[in-house]
């Protein structure tokens, strides 16, 4: 049984997804519980895989017992289990919140939402678990397609944003597919481990170089790396809150994972450094991404939209960590994938709670929110401080490694960019915190009534989100605080194995 864990990790959410509407036709309420059970099962499997991998090392699972490179292999190593844990964990948290939210926002259609939700989790898990280049494309499209559908369920502008996302997302996926084809022409293999052995002899082949270029651009589109991020703010802003809490933290991170896989598993660091100056190019793109993301975020009045632009900057962080090509840098990048997923998940869950309570997302209308929703806002503050890279929250530690990586690479501009960006984040988030904690009145305070009594907030009634929505928020906030001090342990146990030995 334990030998089949990797297959079950995909099979359970996939089959669960298709059973969900069947149950939903008869018992809509039961469908939610079913999907929850499936997600909990997937999370439990991820934990079991983590135990197995940390105890016995990476697993190579041969699907249908076809030996690679002919059959499809699932390669479960340390990085994979980390990502699986993130995907299933955040998926579970997002789902806990989605259930009550969906019941209100799209009554009667919940089972379909749950199906898409599970498919999304399946696709993302598949991307990280597979050891086969083409299989990865298939899972990429499973997650993208379910993502398109989920986003299209959102508010007014959602269909248009979705359509743009489909067009540009498909281009990204096609570029990736083209890269796979090019590699296949010269090597005749689709298996990552096999490719890693075959490719070094071909590093100077033009076909390989072009393949690499297609991979990079395709993945950069999926991860929303500047200047290919244009689909992201619209899509994530208009997505329904329960869906954005799943997609926003995970999609970009999984794409970043794919980038790491291609650059460090399929190709070797020697290629990324010695053959083409991809590291340098990515590094400078990251600098621009971080700065532009931050500045664009400053210009936003909509809280959710602001977060999406911050995500553009955060993607830049991860790419910068990859681009410096040394151990602390890549450690920081992987750590930041984890930390940022948790922070973004927490923030979007908070947005979900606000949306559920019908609170407008405009920052200027968030006054007295701490009175209304003290626990939600406390979680928001924790995530925000983490985003600013303040200890002991986890954001500080990934920033530490990233800065250390840039310093080790002698890239002082990169280091400076990281530091400036955390200050920009501080401005962004303290603007919100100041508003939510200090501004008197309900936000319509253009008249002078707010000065009636020094602190005219006494009449605000506490109106906290229901416990089912609040619990995942608080769990994520607690996680943000716990992951920080324990990051050393996590790096020792997991991430250090994911960094190529050459570093």
């Amino acid at each position: 049984m334990t030998a089949q864990l990797p297959a079950l990790q995909i099979a359970i959410p996939l089959l669960g997804a298709f059973i969900t509407p069947l149950i939903g036709w008869h018992r809509p309420r039961l469908a939610g519980l079913w999907a929850l059970a499936v997600l909990a099962g997937a999370a439990a499997l991820a934990v079991a895989l983590l135990m197995q991998v940390t105890a016995h090392g990476p697993i190579s699972y041969h699907l249908g017992n076809w030996a690679p490179p002919w059959g499809i292999a699932y390669a479960v190593d340390h990085l994979t289990v980390l990502m699986l844990l993130l995907i299933t964990g955040i998926g579970l948290m997002a789902f806990l919140q989605a259930r009550p939210a969906v019941a209100v926002s799209m009554p009667g259609r919940e089972p379909y939402f749950y199906t898409l939700f599970l498919l999304q989790v399946t696709g993302l898990s598949g991307i990280v678990i597979t050891g086969d280049m083409f299989n990865l494309f298939v899972f990429l499209e499973i997650s993208s397609l379910s993502g398109y559908a989920l986003i299209a369920l959102g508010e007014d502008g959602a269909p248009l944003a979705t359509f743009n996302y489909i067009i540009i997302g498909t281009v990204g996926a096609c570029f990736y597919l083209l890269g796979v084809g090019y590699l296949y022409i010269v090597t005749g293999s689709l298996n990552m481990a096999d490719l890693a052995n075959l490719l070094p002899a071909l590093y100077h082949s033009k076909v390989v170089l072009v393949a690499f270029a297609f991979f990079t651009v395709g993945v950069a589109i999926k991860m929303g790396l500047f200047p290919l991020h244009t689909w992201m703010p619209d899509a994530y802003t208009t997505a329904p809150a329960p869906a954005s809490a799943l997609i926003a933290p995970l999609m970009t991170k999984v794409a970043a994972y794919v980038m790491i896989r291609i650059m460090f598993t399929v190709f070797r660091p020697e290629f990324d450094i010695g053959v083409i100056p991809v590291a340098t190019i990515l590094g400078w793109m990251a600098v621009i991404a971080i700065l532009v993301g931050g500045i664009k975020a400053l210009a936003q009045t909509d809280l959710k939209r602001m977060l999406t632009y911050i995500m553009v900057a955060e993607v830049g962080y991860i790419v910068m960590g990859i681009s410096v090509m040394n151990r602390p840098g890549l450690t920081g990048a992987i750590l930041h994938i984890m930390n940022d997923a948790c922070m973004v998940a927490c923030l979007f869950l908070v947005i979900g709670a606000l949306a559920h309570k019908g609170i407008p997302r405009t920052i200027s209308e968030l006054g007295s929110l701490n009175r209304k929703m003290p626990f939600t806002m406390a979680a928001f503050v924790v995530a925000a401080l983490s985003m600013c890279g303040l200890p002991p929250a986890c954001g500080f530690f990934s920033k530490w490694y990233l800065v250390q990586g840039t310093v080790a690479a002698g890239q002082w501009v990169f280091a400076g960019t990281l530091l400036v960006s955390s200050l920009i984040n501080a401005v962004l988030f303290f603007r919100v915190i100041e508003k939510a904690y200090l501004a008197p009145g309900g936000g319509h305070g253009h008249d002078d009534q707010q000065h009636d009594d020094g602190h005219g907030t006494a009449n605000v009634v506490r109106d906290e989100a229901p416990a089912a929505m609040l619990a995942p928020i608080l769990i994520m906030a607690a996680l943000i605080l716990v992951l920080g001090p324990f990051s050393g342990t996590i790096i020792d146990a997991v991430i250090s194995h994911a960094v190529p030995a050459a570093f």
Binding site: P391, P392, W400, V407, A415, L423, G454
Partner: protein, 497 residues
């Protein structure tokens, strides 16, 4: 080397006020007496824990509490050595009077959001003691940043325009500084592979001089912002919009002292006196500190707002501490470190007095205080004692530290800096004594009550107590809390190490 004692006491000392903070939030505004009970209980427990470490440290041992590995070779570790203990004792001791005083202050003025206030206060203390006991730069940095954030709700407590602007200024200065510190710490780690504080420094020989100088500037600028070194002092007077107990404990003891403490840690335990001498950079540093001393003194003369005047006096004294430490002679370091303790007692007294006056009469400008000494004689007496101390007049404790500072300047052969120290004492007299004179001898304003009408006892007793302790430590510097012995230990560790 020094003996190491493994103990969880440092951790407990840090966590006790954090736990109290959580209990305060949980208790909320509905049961204020229970809530204040948590504050006072935590203050007493913390004091007990910290004081219980004094004998061990005086026996030449170091108390260590290792928690987690954060980076290869760097742990989250609390290590209590003599210098750390000194700061810890100051913070823990002064939290007790401040707690009582705060209760009196916020209740007298009927402040809003009292739970948040006491919560943030407890969190500040937690992190301040964390700063004191941090065993390496990373732990220090973590506690330091927590302190930064925990102070913000206190600065903006009034939630009016001035408070919010003050809060923003505070954040801009301190977060930027924190960022610089992060960079400096990362570079240090990359160079040396360790961040553990070592008496006498660990950075020597790890990098070319130019880079070391750059690091030095980054570190000192980073910690110097909180220590109010010019030109990074501007936030400090602005942050005086905070309630007075906040100004008292945080801006005279915890926050700014954390900055000074960090500077001294970097000077003596990261770079070390020998390296500083080799680089020759201590002279530049001393020059900046001396400039700050004089300029802050001059600026204080021009302030009519009492708390702003005190703020500039704080800047002046903090720079004096740094000047002492950067002179690098034994007596100067001793004087500087001792002044951390002495200044804390005197300055908190002064702020307590300012707060008592404000709570009673709503007066906060120097020009409004004519004749108020007749109405509030105890407050003004305490004020006089503390002001004398800061001006270096015996028998108050400020005299002791200034004496050693002067000796140190002579020992270092830097007569210019001796002159600076003496000038500063004269400036102190110049900006404090008019207040005292006005209070006691000017014709009372019409609104001054003709009889004794003090602030509530819960405020007057703490300020008298701190004033009394200032005198006690002036006469017997080693009494009760053994500040003098601890300082001597710290100096020996650094110079003899």
């Amino acid at each position: 080397m020094t003996d190491t004692v493994i103990s969880t006491r440092p951790l407990l000392a840090v966590l006790v006020s954090f736990a109290a903070g959580m209990l305060i939030l949980a208790t909320g505004d509905r049961r204020p007496n229970l809530r204040e009970g948590w504050t006072i209980a935590a203050a007493l427990i913390k004091f007990g824990l910290v004081v219980s470490m004094i004998p061990t440290v005086l026996a030449g041992k170091v108390i260590t509490c290792r928690l987690l590995t954060l980076l290869p070779g760097v742990e989250l570790v609390f290590r209590v050595d003599a210098f750390g203990l000194l700061f810890g004792v100051i913070a823990a001791t002064l939290w007790i009077p401040t707690s009582f005083y705060s209760i009196g202050y916020v209740r007298t003025l009927n402040e809003h959001a009292q739970s948040r206030y006491f919560f943030a206060f407890a969190l500040c203390l937690s992190s301040a003691v964390g700063v004191a006991f941090a065993g390496n730069l990373l732990t220090l940095l973590i506690c330091y940043e927590v302190l930064t954030i925990a102070t913000w709700p206190l600065v903006i407590h009034h939630e009016d325009g001035a408070a919010i602007m003050g809060g923003r200024k505070y954040l801009v200065y301190t977060l930027t500084a924190g960022t610089g510190l992060l960079l400096a710490t990362v570079v240090t780690y990359s160079l040396a592979g360790t961040l553990d504080f070592t008496p006498g420094g660990f950075l020597a020989g790890h990098a070319p001089d130019g880079l070391l100088m750059l690091l030095f500037v980054l570190f000192i600028a980073g910690f110097g912002v909180k220590a109010g070194i010019m030109p990074f002092h501007e936030w400090l007077p602005t942050a005086m919009v905070a309630p007075t107990p906040v100004s008292a404990l945080l801006h005279a003891v915890a926050v700014v002292k954390a900055g000074v403490f960090g500077c001294v840690r970097v000077l003596l335990f990261v770079f070390g006196p020998n390296l500083l001498r080799e680089l020759g950079i201590w002279q530049a540093m001393a020059g900046v500190a001396a400039f700050t001393v004089v300029a802050a003194g001059l600026l204080a003369l021009g302030q009519d707002h009492l708390k702003r005047r005190l703020a500039f006096s704080t800047i002046n004294n903090l720079a004096l501490i740094l000047l002492g430490v950067t002179l690098l002679s034994e007596n100067a370091i001793r004087g500087g470190i001792l002044h951390i303790a002495n200044h804390a007692f005197m300055k908190i007294t002064l702020f307590f007095c300012a707060g008592a006056i404000y709570a009673k009469t709503h007066k906060d400008h120097v020009s409004q205080l004519d004749g108020l000494g007749r109405q509030m004689p105890f407050t003004f007496a305490a004020f006089t004692i503390a002001a004398m101390g800061l001006s270096g007049i015996p028998p108050v404790n400020g005299f002791i530290s200034k004496w050693f500072l002067c000796l140190g300047a002579v020992q270092a052969g830097e007569l210019l800096f001796l002159f600076v120290i003496l000038t500063s004492a004269m400036l102190d007299v110049a900006f404090f004594f008019p207040i005292i004179f006005n209070g006691f001898f000017r014709e009372p304003r019409p609104d001054v009550a003709p009889r004794i009408d003090e602030a509530p006892l819960i405020m007057v007793i703490p300020l008298c107590a701190t004033a009394a302790f200032s005198v006690l430590f002036g006469i017997m510097p080693d009494a009760v809390l053994h500040f003098f012995s601890i300082t001597t230990h710290a100096v020996q560790q650094v110079l003899g190490g």
